[in-house]
Symmetry: C2
Subunit: 313 residues, 2 copies
DNA sequence: GGCTCGAATGATTGCGCTATCATTGCGGAA
DNA sequence: TTCCGCAATGATAGCGCAATCATTCGAGCC
């Protein structure tokens, strides 16, 4: 018991024993077994982080910032890649919960009924990120995808664009952005919209391929993409054809990834502050995990977004 | 005990009890506690994956494939972001080992002496990836960075380039690629080389900024980058200045990220097959974790690389 | 000296599982 | 009928730690 104290709460132990323990640890190469510690104290010091993928700069950034914020407090991250389907999330959730994490970060708010029940039953501090809803499971830090789509639609209409091409990943959040865009365009006289869906993960080649189709068949004057990387592909395709950007074709990305400002011309996009989102989510979670007893709070933080006009609109 | 069996080794239990247990699990919402299971069986079903960052498409891809290969076998991944310094690796290693992972994947082969000792003492199956050495800790799946640098050097010299600019991240593996390149150029009459280092993570804006410096001051006829994303920045900078690529300036990236083939002109680069690397690493680890007793093997697999000539050389 | 008090240390228990060995039950051979 | 052998089930212990309560010790006081 004294050794345990010397390692975990050294202030409760005399200088002399603390040193003695330290020396013994060094000599024997003792490595504490936190599995046993977790079982005994019912604190795993593990946070489950569920994201669709890390092969997408937006989620990679969020993952990076959340882990960076959690590490100094002694929390390890257990990563779960849930893709874009509720079934996959459900499956991973089960194995994740069986590790008794002290906290959970979930991407998105649309979970299966079973998943919701399990999460609620787990009585673990929980942050949903990257989305918005009126009925959060616990805490929520994100933004509204519908609002993004609507804002992009209004913006393009203001800029005089009417024949809008859309290249969107086949994931539900991207689809809701497209729906928001469609709603605005539908209410605009003369406006039209053509959607091309691509698989996940989004990639630059997809952007080139689908924009080639749009350019060949649809006489679009703007292409909206569900991610910056797709928009890069559109830009490359336009350049390869000598299409004037933004004169003949406007391009909008999504995410404001680090490269958006460095393309030529610089990419117009929707800025999502992934670093702040990740940091806030981590802060909320840490605050809750520090409290002795679990209690749901239903706390919502809408971080919003910003349309960034650069050189492609 | 019968419940434990019904859940973990159902073939040892009669149909009737299996169903009875199943129903009880459903009714009570029982979620097994794998922390306790791990303690009792000394099998955590956890694999530690240590990468410098996930905010880099190459490591994101490797992370993604390793996790995808491990998940079906019931292994969860504990992610550790070690950056590019041995100190950070050492620190994270301690907390990682205290969770008693069943296996470890490490990026790189250059560890501190303390880290080596700890890893060896842990007696855990281990794969080093993304590098090459004569003294692997256990298993190794990777490629030689020096060889990459040399190959790039020879290739550019063959193509007639002599004034080589280099934009390299300040990480040790990138530096070893630069060293290989330098060795070749040093042995080539008339060849010269200028290096600009950038911080991590590499990004497109860094590529633009440093290539602008090189173009302004050094009259280079080729720029070699330590990653594709930097090369994209160089390409954008060249386009913004109307510099003819590859006529006046050749550009080489590194990694063959998914976007390299989609730029205009398409990016010449060094292909590293991250998917195969990740898959092989996971396979080796799984095979070893399936064995009852630990024994070091010092098994090395050099996956090599390939120079891909596209439109920028 | 005897007493109190607080700091430091120690003994015991149990976290929820699985390894191991023991027991039960049942069909078929002797 | 008895006995064996196997499948199924059960009882027990222990994994390595931390929570909890008990004990010891020494300083300071009367």
């Amino acid at each position: 018991m004294t050794v345990s104290r010397a390692l975990n709460r050294p202030e409760l132990v005399s200088e002399a024993t603390r040193l003695k323990v330290q020396r013994a640890v060094l000599e024997t190469g003792y490595v504490p077994n936190r599995v046993a510690g977790a079982l005994a104290s019912s604190r795993s010091r593990l946070v489950a982080l569920l994201v669709p993928t890390v092969a997408h700069s937006l989620f990679a950034e969020v993952t990076q910032t959340i882990m960076a914020a959690l590490a100094p407090q002694g929390y390890q991250v257990m990563l779960g890649l849930v893709g874009y389907t509720p079934e996959q999330e459900e499956k991973i959730l089960e194995t994740v919960l069986s590790r008794r994490p002290d906290g959970i970060v979930l991407t998105g708010c649309r979970h299966s009924e079973l998943a919701r029940r399990r999460l609620l039953a787990a009585e673990v501090p929980l942050v949903e990120i990257w989305d918005m809803t009126d009925e959060p499971l616990d805490m929520l830090v994100g933004f509204s995808h519908e609002a993004v789509g609507e804002a992009v639609g209004r913006h393009l209409v203001e800029l005089g664009r009417r024949r809008i091409g859309v290249i969107s990943a086949d994931d539900s959040r991207a689809r809701r952005r497209v729906a928001g865009l469609a709603a605005v365009l539908h209410a605009t006289p003369d406006a039209s919209m053509t959607v091309r869906e691509v698989g996940t993960p989004s990639s630059m080649p997809w952007g080139r391929e689908k924009s080639a189709e749009l350019l060949d068949n649809e006489a679009v004057d703007a292409i909206v993409c569900s991610s910056d990387i797709l928009a890069m592909g559109v830009l490359a395709e336009a350049q390869s054809r000598g299409v004037d950007v933004p004169g003949a074709l406007a391009i909008m990305g999504f995410g404001d990834s680090s490269y958006a400002k460095a393309t030529f011309p610089a990419l117009s996009t929707v800025r999502i502050d992934g670093a702040t989102l990740g940091r806030r989510a981590a802060e909320h979670l840490l605050a809750r995990m520090a409290q002795p007893h679990f209690q749901r709070v239903e706390q919502t933080l809408d971080l919003g977004f910003e349309i960034v006009d650069r050189g492609t609109t």
